[in-house]
Each structure stands twice: as structure tokens, then as C-alpha cells.
Symmetry: C2
Subunit: 377 residues, 2 copies
């Protein structure tokens, strides 16, 4: 493959397999899939996921939603807090843009002020355009991440009552995502965490329904805990995203019962540029892959070629033979790294190179644009 | 300032001050300045540095050099190993492009194979174009970084002799950069490290000159150790780059005697999107700033507003009042983060917003493009 390095490469066969595995899993549990597109930031991949059965995608940022809408994705949930009026005006504009296309936008709230600002921007947009579009609004619950989200119970009821006051806002349900639980290594720890989540969310739903307000949907879950939420009979929608590429961090989790088996499909291709007595140096550093979830793993095509990657700075990686092996790669030889965390790795690249037929002997089938790369606002 | 968040903001007054401080420092020591443009990846800023006296800039990647050449920067040193023939052909093409413009390209080598590949590509290019351009070649020495570079002493002599065999290669000197020393907190540790470097480089220069080969220039140094190399009478050129923006990591170094005082000039503007009993959440996570050198610091405009930033994932930051303070920022309020490491932070953004007259009351003077963002090859 004539791919210059470093480059982000997708093994399309593995990606397709992951896509099918997740579709079958969602079918089995009769749960909807709304994968998180913050991971791949690509309209092409979002549409591929929807063609495989996903109802839409999630994003974290208004500008990510805009990039995907521009790429033809019409069902998007901004699973995050948006507070700036300048952004909420853009959110409102998207609802008006999507309505005649049969599309739909949803968003999270976790404060009265957030609800009011959203309602005001939706209202202003309606007056300006005489277009009575609405937006689905989910209350984000803090279920253990301790980041955004109101506490389960009464605070959520107060918010639901507030949402109902505004005609442009459609109270759609609860967002209950436990980010930290995704990366708990032990299957038992993940189960314990999600058992608590399910209890808190169930009670909150009951409290809100006691007010005569229907809770349409509970949405959440990531690749690490999806089997638990899927089996809960509470969650109607899974937001897992990383399953498509499967990074080194998720692969390090102890598998749980019923956990679908995903394969690594995303790699940073890199080249050895310097060789020394005890180490070699490759041309991929942390400007090529994110290191927030640890260093990348060197993909081992055989047990004779096990190398360990350590940080060599922005533009370099240091390679040493793993224990039991003494072979260093030669100057100019190619390696494939499995990123520790796919989301921020993809965000470093403008494109992903899709290869069919394996990393070593395959051919480039297509170039997939990272449409929302750097879409931060 | 109507800057949506998160955004990368330059305090232009502070940047200009840093520019003048470094120019005066280089003048004082009668040493040339060739700042590392891997830090800002911007042709506009490279030209600003050259207008302030820099002889040219360094880059780490062939594609960075191409982006800067396209932006009108004509004196570039690729201070790294380039091994792929496909890249070396592009390097050779740039030398032919720059020659009639009075420009110049330089590059590093650390292996016989690397020298031969470079010579071959330069030679092929000359035959194809009948244009006898040459390239300056520096031998990279391993002076403690243990990454690329030949060992000081005899291995460097062997390489110098090899370089001299190839008419298109002009042996220009030694690259001796100790990256790890830049971030040693203690001034004494940095001094000890650079004293050893100077001794090894001096001896190597002598060995090469014993072969009748002139060592034209010793180049190296970063913002952390520049006073030591500048005073060495050995280094003719400093490669410091971070001085322009001054990140949190460099600011944590104990200042040494003669160390110029640089000011923070680069910030990630961020907004509070969620407020809770003990913490607030802002909209800048590690897709907005690099965390390889630690978390960003929250810029404190007064001693009453000291906040601590902890990692909230790709898109969020968690803010808590630092000890002795109990004030949390309100929903929608703006904060400015000082990145831990400016180089990979800039690489996450498409542009830098230059503000004149201070962060709070200033006006946007210009938008500076990150020309080489994502230029990895």
C-alpha cells in the first residue's frame, strides 16, 4: 500500500464486521442504536451506521452537528450542554433546516437557565422564520460521571416541569451516561456501577411520570457497558461509538457475559526513521495519536514481532522489543499502531484511509473525510 | 470580545513582547535564532519571527516545510530524520523551488543509509530538472534525548565523511538538541545536562575537523536551556520556539541566571456550561488543548479567582476552587486556560485569534491560520 506515514488507516473489513456485530446485538436486545459520532466525526461513517440500522447519531458540539448536517445526516442528538446564545441560535437554525427534510435534532439540558436560553432561541428563530420547528430535549442526569447533569430524583422533575412550559421544546426523556464506568477493567465493577445507575434512573423516571409527564426514552451507554444497559429493559437507546474502531483501551477491559466481540479497525501507520543499539524510532508521536488513555500498542502480525511503544514526544515514538524478543525493526520498515483512544486520535487527522483486504496486502478502497475535525464550538 | 468557545487566542501584546525579548537576548549573545515552527505551524508567525531577526525556522516534518514554503517562508531546517524516498523526493523538489528565490533548505541525518537515500533523491531531481541545487545537511547527535541521532565522537565522523562524498549534499554542521533537559525543573540540573552536551559536541567537532572537514555551525537549544547554549561560545544558532507563547510547563521551570522572562501569550478561551454544588464544567477538554505536559492552568485575573482545572474528557474540563477560595464561576462565564504544552495544542486548532489590548477588554486584530495543522508526513 502506497500510504505515506504517519496516516490514519481503517481496516474496512474489520469495521464492517464491527458494524454487523453491533447491529445484531441491538436487534437481539430490541434496543435502538444511536452511535456517538464524536468518535469518527464523519458524515460518511454516520450514514453507514444509519444504513446498518442506527436511528441517528450523537454529537457533543454544535459545530459537529453542523458538519454532519452539511454531510447529509439528518437525525442528530447533541448529548451535551449548550449554553451560549450564539450557539443556541445555530441549534435553532438547524431544527428549522431539518424539519422540511424529515430530520430531527435533540439536545441535553441540566439547568433551568439552560432550558430558558434554549426556549428563547427557538422562539426567536420561529418568529424570524414563521417556522414552528421543535426540538427534542433530554434531561442529562449525573449518574456517576460527576461532570454535567442534574442529580437523579427531584432536580430532574423540576427541569421536566420547566421544559413543559415551552411549546418549542419537546420533553423527550433522560440522558443517563456513565462515562467512567466504560473504562472500569473488571466486568463486575462495570456491572455494579450500572446496577446503581439503573436504580437511580428508574426512580427518576417514576417521579417524573408521577407528575403526568411521559418519559419517552432513556438513552446512554458506551462500548464498555452496552450489554448492561441493553439488557436493562429501561434504556431504549444505546450511544456506543467506539465499537466501530475498537481502541486499545476498550480492548483492555475484561469482557462481560454477552459482550459482543469487536475487532481493532483503526490504525496509525508509521515508519521507522532511526535505528540504534537498543531502540528504534518511528515517525508517529502524539500529534498523530492521542495519549490520554495511554500509549498506542504496536499491532503484532506475528508473535515474533512484539514491540513496545513509548512516548517520544510530538513527532516521535520509541520502539523497544518486548520481553522475550530481541528483534528491532529495520530502517524504513512500516508498523501499525492501535491507538489508546480512537476519538481524540481521529480528531488529529483530516482523513482516514480505508483499506480493503488487510493492512499488509490490501488496497485503498476509499478516503473518508473527518468532516468535523477541529469542530470545537 | 465576541469569540465563541472554545477558541485559541493569542494575546498579541504579550507575543510581541516575547518576540522583542528573544531578539534582544540573541543579540546580546551574538547568536543566531532559528525558532522551531513546529510550535505555531504558521507562515505568518514564522515571517514575523524572521522580521524580528530570526535567520529562518525549523520544522520536524516535510509537509510542515511545504506548508511554510507555500506561505512564503524560504529558509527552513527540517531538524529531523527523513527516510521515505517519497518524502525525500519532495525535499529535493523544495530545494529546487527555493534556489532561484534565494531560499535554502537544510535537513538532519543520523545514518549512512539516510545520507545515501537523501543524496540519491537530490541526484535524481537534478537529472530530471538540470538544476544543480544543494541541501545543507546537519548530523544529528544524540546528546541525551536517546531518540534519534548518532552517538557523539567517531560515529559522527563516519557520517561526515559519507556526506562529503555526495556533491548535492553540503555538510553544514551538527544538530545537538537535548529535549529532556528543557523540562528539568531545577536550573542546576539543566546546567549540568548542558555542560555534558557542550563537552561531547566540542570533542565531536574537533574529531571531524581533524579530518580536514569544517563544522560550519552547531545548532540546538530550546526555551528551557537557551541561556546555557547561548553562552557556550559553541552553539551558533538557537532553535527555541515556545518562548513566543510560553506554556504552563515552561513557566514551571526554576528560572536560571540570565534567563529571559517570557509571558504567557497563548490561551484557550472557554465557557462554563454546567454548574454544580462543588464544581463547574467548561467546554474545553483535551480536544481543545494537549495534556501530554499536564492539565492547563486557569488564568487568574485576580487572586480572588483561582480555579483548578481537572480533566473532564475530550470535550469537558472540571473546575474547582483552589484552596483558600470558595467561588465557583457562574453559568456562561468565560475563562482563559494556559495550555500545558503549546505545540500540540496549536495543532488541534485551525486558527489562532489574535487579540490586541488584553484578553478582557481587547479587540480582535487578526486571525492567524495554522497552515501546517495536521501536517504529519
Amino acid at each position: 500500500m502506497a500510504i505515506d506515514t504517519p496516516a490514519l488507516v481503517i481496516d474496512l473489513d474489520m469495521m464492517d464486521r464491527n458494524l454487523r456485530t453491533m447491529a445484531a446485538f441491538a436487534d437481539l436486545h430490541q434496543v435502538k442504536l444511536r452511535p456517538h459520532a464524536k468518535m469518527h466525526k464523519s458524515a460518511e461513517l454516520a450514514k453507514l451506521q444509519m444504513a446498518a440500522g442506527a436511528v441517528g447519531v450523537c454529537v457533543q458540539k454544535t459545530s459537529e452537528a453542523e458538519a454532519l448536517v452539511a454531510g447529509g445526516v439528518h437525525n442528530i442528538f447533541i448529548s451535551n450542554q449548550v449554553i451560549a446564545p450564539v450557539k443556541l441560535a445555530r441549534v435553532a437554525a438547524m431544527t428549522r433546516q431539518l424539519a422540511p427534510l424529515g430530520g430531527k435534532l435533540a439536545i441535553c439540558v441540566d439547568s433551568i437557565e439552560g432550558v430558558r436560553r434554549l426556549a428563547q432561541c427557538m422562539h426567536k428563530g420561529q418568529i424570524a422564520s414563521s417556522n414552528a420547528s421543535t426540538i427534542d430535549v433530554f434531561i442529562e442526569l449525573n449518574v456517576g460521571q460527576n461532570r454535567c447533569g442534574v442529580e437523579p430524583g427531584r432536580p430532574a422533575v423540576v427541569l421536566a416541569l420547566e421544559i413543559r412550559k415551552h411549546p418549542a421544546l419537546n420533553f423527550a426523556g433522560l440522558q443517563a451516561y456513565h462515562g467512567k464506568a466504560q473504562h472500569m477493567r473488571s466486568a463486575a465493577d462495570r456491572r455494579d456501577a450500572i446496577v446503581s445507575v439503573i436504580e437511580a434512573v428508574s426512580q427518576t423516571r417514576q417521579l417524573i411520570e408521577n407528575e403526568g409527564i411521559t418519559v419517552g426514552l432513556i438513552t446512554g451507554a458506551g462500548t464498555g457497558t452496552a450489554p448492561l444497559e441493553a439488557a436493562s429493559k429501561l434504556y431504549g437507546e444505546l450511544q456506543a461509538g467506539s465499537y466501530l474502531f475498537m481502541d486499545a483501551d476498550y480492548a483492555a477491559n475484561e469482557p462481560a457475559t454477552g459482550q459482543p466481540l469487536f475487532k481493532h479497525a483503526l490504525f496509525v501507520k508509521t515508519q521507522v526513521i532511526s535505528v540504534h543499539a537498543g531502540h528504534a524510532v518511528c515517525d508517529a508521536g502524539h500529534k498523530s495519536h492521542a495519549i490520554d488513555s495511554g500509549m498506542p500498542k504496536v499491532h503484532a502480525f506475528s508473535s515474533r514481532s512484539v514491540l513496545e511503544y513509548t512516548n517520544g514526544g510530538d513527532e516521535h515514538g520509541i520502539l523497544k522489543p518486548a520481553a522475550g524478543s530481541s528483534r528491532l525493526p529495520s530502517l524504513g520498515s512500516m508498523l501499525w499502531l492501535i491507538p489508546g483512544h480512537c476519538d481524540p486520535t481521529v480528531n488529529l487527522h483530516n482523513e482516514m484511509i480505508g483499506v480493503r483486504g488487510g493492512l499488509l496486502k490490501g488496497v485503498v478502497e476509499r478516503i473518508i473525510t473527518v468532516d468535523a475535525r477541529g469542530a470545537l464550538t
